[in-house]
Amino acid sequence: MNKTAGLLLAGGVGSRLGVLASLRTKPAVPFGGIYRIIDFALSNAANSGIDHLGILTQYKPLSLMDHIGVGKDWGYGSRLRSLKILPPRTGEKDSDWYKGTADAVRQNMEYVTQNPDCDTLVILSGDHIYQMDYREIVAFHKARGAKLTLATREVAIEDAHHFGIAKVNSENKIVEWAEKPRKPKSTLASMGIYVFSIDFIKEAFREIKGTDFGMDIIPWACELGHAYAFPFSGYWRDVGTLKSYWSANIDLLDANSGLHLEDWKIYTNSRDDTRLGDRPPSFVGRDCEVKNSVVSQGCEINGCIENSIISPGVTVQHGASIKNSIIMDACTIGADAQLDRVILDKNVTIGDGVSIGEGTDDVLNREYPDFLESGISIVGKGSHVPGKCRIGKHCIIKPFTPTSSFQSNTIEGGETVGAVPHEYST
């Protein structure tokens, strides 16, 4: 792969992940206890022998940059393997924010072409949970004599309108392309992973002024008959909505789901900048039941946990019960608290006797009806839920909500608490 350059698009806003992505870019959203979403694309790139990787950032990149560092945890940052973060920068105009995926790549072609030996560019998205050896798609690209190859997979027809949809002939050449079509003609969806011959992408940028791959570049390449679809059939999840994010986490508990992080060699940055020492082993107390769950280091568990993902440094006090939930780093769950189908972002404190997720799920969230479904409630980073508070389903507690913001001991299903201003706009 020493003739292949890599660019990873990690600027995504993740607007439908609500409070999880309101403080961080989507690739930096925590996943599976100790990981972040971008670890998958980064580990795939490292395991596929992409030795020089540029990472394009834009939206709230701080947690991401912190997490990636110089890439040591993925084997980058040495003499032969480099990783470079490429934020937008001012050029001839005052502000050159990336205007779309293609624009982001266009503004970094200098990085791509700095190694004259490279003839192929792999463009990856940092937004998905999957394992892929990019060597296979590059080999496919070269064998077909393609100038552009998209990684594609079959999706359900009712989901197809979220994706770029391709129709292919018997040689996997794309004969028809539609970006997020209202009436999809096929179920072969683009995964946002593109392999370009470098001469061809240079030509594309000369010919096409558009700023988006799906809308502008791919249709042009398909029209010229140079675009192919590489069929991928392994585990792949978009995790663009809270429902899909929750399900993909819960897939870790199912040995048959196809999601196997250690087998896949998914690496993460395990440094914990909030502590000088390493987190100790997790302690499970005498009166506990822990079943069908994932438990990270540094936890103190004295309650019951079932079908849940527990991140590092979580404290679960006596009598507490956590079911079907995702608990992120350093949360404290008070005595006798009951949590069902809850996502707690980092550093949340749940008071004694709190209950979240009881009642019916027939009311959607009033303020943000598109975010939550399947009865999931979510508590934003650093919030404090006061003791004895009862919170229904489809509730949102915004980040950094203090106990004083809870006007009542009962938060009905579909309510939102917290006044911290931050952008949800989709």
Partner: protein, 422 residues
């Protein structure tokens, strides 16, 4: 922190620890479900701001070297830090293996001189404790001492096991060291040496010039009694937690006290650091707990996969506990597997062991250590590193199973094998 060089004596094998130190020096012994014993002094040094360390090491040092790496886990790499492992080397004498603690220091005097320290802090790498060495240094400076030895009060009935010092009374933190006796049959005091010594560099140099060619090899046994009248020698009293791991029973008890959450032994509070790159610990996924698993009063870490029953036990990263198996009152080290229907009670299972299906280790009906707090060496089974315990075999309490035994070689070692019932 002023210009201090720390020397950690980490080389030794401890016979009482039997097969656990077969392949590694004691300082590299795994501890507490994640750590190695030497993580404790290394973390103490880091927090005390002592950034230059030499580690004389001679007994099978590979495991230790692997663990320490470049020292960056403890911030010991970088512009103003250094960490060196110092193996024995051939010199003037026919055999230059280190002959005791003082000899290990004396043989490395060239290294010490090279580092140009003002003071040399000598530690042993095999105790579990949390100590701020800056307080020891402050005491030393305020007393204008040339040599300071750290002590801790121990119960009188145990005093005979230690080097005992008589310290001038009057001050809480210590005073002039009046006399010293190594493991006396008839103890006269209860201040036990922690084998922590602080020397002014010139003092150490002059002691070296006088004694290095003589017969003096150990600090406690030979040197301290010899010098305490001739140099300003002080005793510093430490009153924090001090965990011993010098015998199987001590090692077992000190580990198990981690399960008593009110114990003074608190690696979390002490923020102990280890090298997460050793054995790829950083790349382990969080522990996976199966639907039928049952876990009580135990420690687990990332990389554990638990499908059976675990009680009063410490599971290191990578431990696998299969369906319908049972682990009680035991320590299971890195990447060992307990296959289905196997049962383990009161055992220390070293790293990379496989306990095959239906094997039984230890007595299955003894009272739990956590009820009686009573444990004897003849009750604890040791299983050496990389051994495969055959399916449906039974190993009696107190047995020490050698490392690296495979199915075939196992029978020749006279471990009782139950009838094959599969």
């Amino acid at each position: 922190m002023e210009n201090i060089l720390a020397m950690i004596l980490a080389g030794g094998r401890v016979n009482q620890l039997d097969v656990l130190t077969e392949n590694r020096p004691k300082s590299a012994l795994p501890f507490g479900g994640l750590y190695r014993v030497i993580d404790f002094p290394l973390s103490n040094l880091m927090y005390s701001g002592i950034r230059r360390i030499g580690i004389p090491s001679q007994y099978r040092p590979f495991s230790l070297m692997n663990h320490i790496g470049d020292g960056s886990a403890w911030d010991m790499s970088g512009r103003n830090s250094s960490l060196h492992i110092l193996p024995p080397f051939k010199g003037h004498r026919p055999s230059d293996w280190y002959q005791g603690s003082a000899d290990a220091i004396f043989q490395n005097m060239d290294y010490i001189k090279n580092m140009r320290p003002e003071k040399v802090l000598i530690l042993s790498g095999d105790h579990i404790y949390n100590m701020d060495y800056t307080r020891l240094v402050k005491f030393h400076n305020e007393a204008d001492a040339e040599v300071t030895v750290a002590f801790k009060e121990v119960p009188f009935d145990q005093a005979t096991r230690f080097g005992l010092g008589e310290i001038q009374a009057g001050k809480r933190e210590g005073g002039r060291l009046l006399s010293y006796a190594e493991k006396p049959d008839y103890p006269t005091g209860t201040n036990a040496s922690l084998t922590i010594y602080l020397f002014n560099f010139e003092t150490l140099l002059s002691i070296y010039e006088e004694f290095a060619n003589g017969r003096t090899f150990d600090f406690g046994k030979d040197l301290i009694p010899e010098i305490l009248d001739r140099y300003r020698t002080y005793g510093y009293k430490f009153d924090g937690y001090w965990g011993y791991t010098n015998s199987i029973v001590e090692y077992y008890r000190t580990n198990m006290s981690l399960l008593q959450r009110d114990s003074e032994l608190a690696p979390d509070k002490w923020q102990v650091k280890t090298n997460l790159r050793n054995r790829n610990l950083a790349d382990r996924e969080p522990a996976i707990i199966g639907k039928q698993a049952r876990i009580k009063n135990s420690l687990i870490y990332n990389g554990c996969k638990i499908y059976g029953s675990v009680e009063n036990s410490i599971l290191f990263p990578g431990s696998y506990v299969g369906p319908d198996s049972q682990v009680r009152d035991s320590i299971i080290m890195f990447d060992s597997r307990v296959q289905e229907k196997a049962r383990i009670n009161q055992a220390i299972v070293d790293a990379d062991v496989r306990v095959e299906t239906g094997a039984s280790i230890g007595s299955q009906d003894s009272t739990s250590f956590f009820e009686t707090e009573d444990i004897h060496e003849d009750g604890i089974v040791l299983v050496g590193q990389r051994t495969v315990v055959p399916a449906f075999s039974a190993i009696a309490p107190g047995k020490k199973v050698q490392p690296n035994l495979l199915n075939g070689s196992f029978a020749m070692h006279n471990y009782e094998i139950k009838e094959f019932i599969g």
